[in-house]
Amino acid sequence: MVEVFVFAVFALVAIGGALVMVMARNPVHSAIGLLTTMFSIAVFYVLLNAHFIAAIQVLIYAGAVMTLFLFVIMMIGVDKTEDTTEQIPWQRPIAIVVSVGLAAVILIAGSQAWITGRSVFGVDGVNGTIEAVADALFGTWTLAFLSTVFLLTIAAVGTIAMAQYLPRRPEEES
């Protein structure tokens, strides 16, 4: 009972944050909205017994990624207001149709399976502790894990290379 209540509340919060993100004029407001949604999702993770992932969600996503976003928003100096007129013809109608349609299709298609799905709470749950995740991560999925190491290294190198501010060559200055 409690769980349903918690779920309902935070579901609303998540959807609200998402809508704020999409519709806010100021990009900083959008970032805050997204942040809210991420926190709600962390709550959902806890409800689903995925404690480790919940922690990681808050740490990495809300902590690192969104912070980075806010840094860049501030740095680029984006205009506070954005022109609301749509340039591309048919863009808005297509967007609305696609998103509503997609949601509807998934909900209708999934509804038949989800209702008969297993319950979260009870004997059949997953153990979402860090030990369980670590067992799987460093056991069966070691290769994938090590690949992400490479991925992060490459990402870091690429970022540094791209963000470098190269000075002009001396000849051109004189």
Binding site: I88, Q91, A95, V98, G101, V105, I108
Partner: protein, 623 residues
């Protein structure tokens, strides 16, 4: 030994290849001697191969060369039997003499070497036709002689008349070839093979009369084209544009006889189709008479001989039509001798007068060119059918066979006799206008006797034209016995027996003498004008060419123009351009979607994804 039969074809073929490629470098006169030597070698080989057939030791042999079209079961193989030997000796023998003559005639011609290359190509093609052991190889030879004829007729292609004549010959021949091809297809449908042996052995059992009639009519159309009968004779007079050796070799002695040979070879099939034989005989007799009337009015010496050839071919076709195959072949041989002789002599005359071919500008040449004159006399008497020269025997045998064949054929016999009279008339006219009377030469002409390389062949041919009759007189039918193995299973019409033969011979002889007499009376004193009415019509070929032009050529040209301009220019090009244009406009309209805006791309992708998802779900039974 007989395994080397293919040498007969390969030797002149090698000569052709060498001379066409290197002819200019080999030059005059070695090119001519090389070509003549190759034909001479072929003649000697053929003679060697014929000896066993003469002594009675030899059997007809088939020499298989290689498998040509395995799908249809067609082999490239050659047949050596008396009929093939007969034709081969004529082709290579007369061919050799004409090659030698041409060395002198084509003196100082620019393309001397190439001429001899083409001549050798012709010999090789004709031998392919004659030595073939199945219809497919024969057809190859058939087509190749048509090609060689075209090349040689339009040899001096810079003259528009010569180029046009070559085209005309090829195209009219093509109509005949169409008939031949239809015949081949019918043969294959009926027999499943092209091989002579298989066909002629099983034909009496396999063929219905209707099928045999269809096949033989189709084959006869081919013969009509190649052997210049009505209605496909119009190419032969124009073919005189070619050099005279060409006219002698191809259009007198050999190529035009290919049709006769083909029909003689297919005698078994023709015997199974009596209806066709009636058609054949009638066409032959009518052509003989018709062409003779045309020959009477010509002023060009070569055109007289051309129409004369058509007329004599009519005799041969008539012989085939009354199933007197030996008689027809006999006349083919004697005609080869005397017609080649006449053409070569005419060539010597033309050359001596610096290219003049109009007989009104000749005359009195007997004093200046005695050898030519006397050999031409032999040819003249032979063709007129004066005994005891060869032409008398062969023409008589044809006419006697026609007379004995049946009541209807007496009409054809009568036509043949009238044609013989006319033949004698116009040949005498030719001789008198050319050699007799006063000199009417063009200015600056200084005729003298031809060099030995020209006169020796004339003499040799004269000897044969005079004496060749002995091989098949009613007293001693050597030729018929010789050719017997080739005509197994064929009932030939033999000339009437006993006193009838003598009477018929006398009738023909009298007709010939009457013709000579009338012409002598008309022309020996002065040269009549011969300007209007019949004479003009005859010179114009009775307007037949104009009729063909209006009926056949003009619609053909109109169709070709329509096809080229409308069909190709507008419809096909329109289609192609239309495809191009529509692709272009499609591309233009689609390029609007490449706006460069990422969000637009994203929108399209998302919409497509939704579409695919929907489709998958719906086909999986969502609702």
């Amino acid at each position: 030994m007989i395994d080397y039969l293919w040498l007969l074809i390969v030797l002149p073929l090698l000569g052709a290849a060498t001379l066409i490629v290197f002819g200019k470098r080999i030059g005059e006169p070695w090119a001519g001697w090389l070509a003549s030597a190759l034909v001479g070698a072929a003649f000697l080989l053929a003679a060697g191969f014929t000896v066993p057939l003469l002594t009675g030791d030899g059997q007809p042999e088939t020499v298989e060369l290689f498998s040509w079209i395995p799908v249809l079961g067609v082999d490239a193989s050659l047949l050596w039997d008396p009929l093939a030997a007969f034709m081969t000796l004529i082709v290579t023998g007369v061919g050799l003499l004409i090659h030698v003559y041409a060395v002198g005639y084509m003196h100082r011609d620019e393309r001397f070497g190439r001429f001899f290359g083409y001549l050798n190509l012709f010999i090789a093609s004709m031998l392919t036709l004659v030595l073939a052991s199945n219809f497919a190889v024969m057809f190859v030879g058939w087509e190749l002689v048509g090609l060689s004829s075209y090349l040689l007729i339009s040899f001096w292609f810079v003259r528009p008349a010569a180029a046009a004549a070559g085209k005309k010959a090829f195209i009219v021949n093509r109509i005949g070839d169409w008939g031949f091809l239809v015949g081949l297809m019918l043969i294959f449908a009926a027999f499943g093979t092209f091989s002579f042996g298989a066909i002629f052995e099983t034909a009496p059992d396999v063929l219905s009369t209707a099928m045999a009639t269809a096949i033989t009519l189709a084959l006869f159309i081919g013969a009509v084209g190649k052997s210049a009968q009505i209605p496909l004779y119009v190419w032969l007079p124009d073919a005189m544009e070619g050099p005279t050796p060409v006219s002698a070799l191809i259009h007198a002695a050999t190529m035009v006889t290919a049709g006769i040979y083909m029909m003689a070879r297919s005698a078994v099939l023709f015997e199974l189709a009596p209806a066709t034989l009636v058609v054949v005989a009638t066409v032959g007799a009518v052509t003989a008479l018709y062409a003779a009337t045309l020959a009477m009015g010509q002023r060009d010496i070569k055109r007289v001989l051309a129409y004369s050839t058509i007329s004599q071919l009519g005799y041969m076709v008539l012989a085939v039509g009354v199933t007197a195959f030996t008689a027809g072949l006999f006349h083919l041989m004697t005609h080869a001798f005397f017609k080649a002789l006449l053409f070569l002599g005419a060539g010597a005359v033309i050359h001596a007068l610096g290219g003049e071919q109009d007989m009104r500008k000749m005359g009195g040449l007997r004093k200046v060119m005695p050898i030519t004159f006397w050999t031409m006399v032999v040819g003249w008497l032979a063709i007129s059918g004066v005994a005891p020269l060869s032409g008398f025997w062969s023409k008589d045998e044809v006419l006697a066979a026609a007379f004995a064949h049946g009541t209807y054929y007496v009409v054809l016999w009568a036509m043949g006799v009238v044609a013989a009279l006319l033949t004698a008339f116009y040949m005498t006219r030719l001789m008198i206008l050319t050699f007799g009377g006063e000199e009417r030469w063009p200015d600056g002409a200084d005729p003298h006797e031809a060099p030995k390389v020209v006169t020796v062949p004339l003499v040799v041919l004269a000897v044969f034209a005079g004496l060749a009759g002995v091989i098949n007189t009613p007293f001693r039918e050597s030729l018929e016995h010789f050719l017997e193995p080739s005509f197994e299973g064929v009932t030939q019409q033999s000339p009437a027996e006993g006193p009838t033969v003598v009477v018929l011979a006398l009738v023909a002889l009298i007709a010939a003498l009457v013709g000579i007499f009338i012409a002598w009376g008309r022309y020996s004193k002065k040269v009549p004008e011969e300007r209007g009415g019949y004479w003009k019509a005859a010179r114009n070929g009775y307007g037949v060419d104009d009729w063909y032009g209006r009926l056949v050529v003009a619609p053909g040209k109109a169709m070709a123009t329509w096809a080229g301009e409308t069909l190709d220019g507008r419809i096909v090009d329109g289609l192609v351009n239309g495809v191009g244009g529509s692709v272009k406009s499609l591309g233009n309209s689609l390029s609007g979607s490449q706006s460069g805006w990422v969000r637009w791309y994203g929108a399209v992708m998302a919409a497509s994804t939704l579409g695919v998802l929907l489709w998958l779900l719906l086909s999986g039974g969502l609702f």
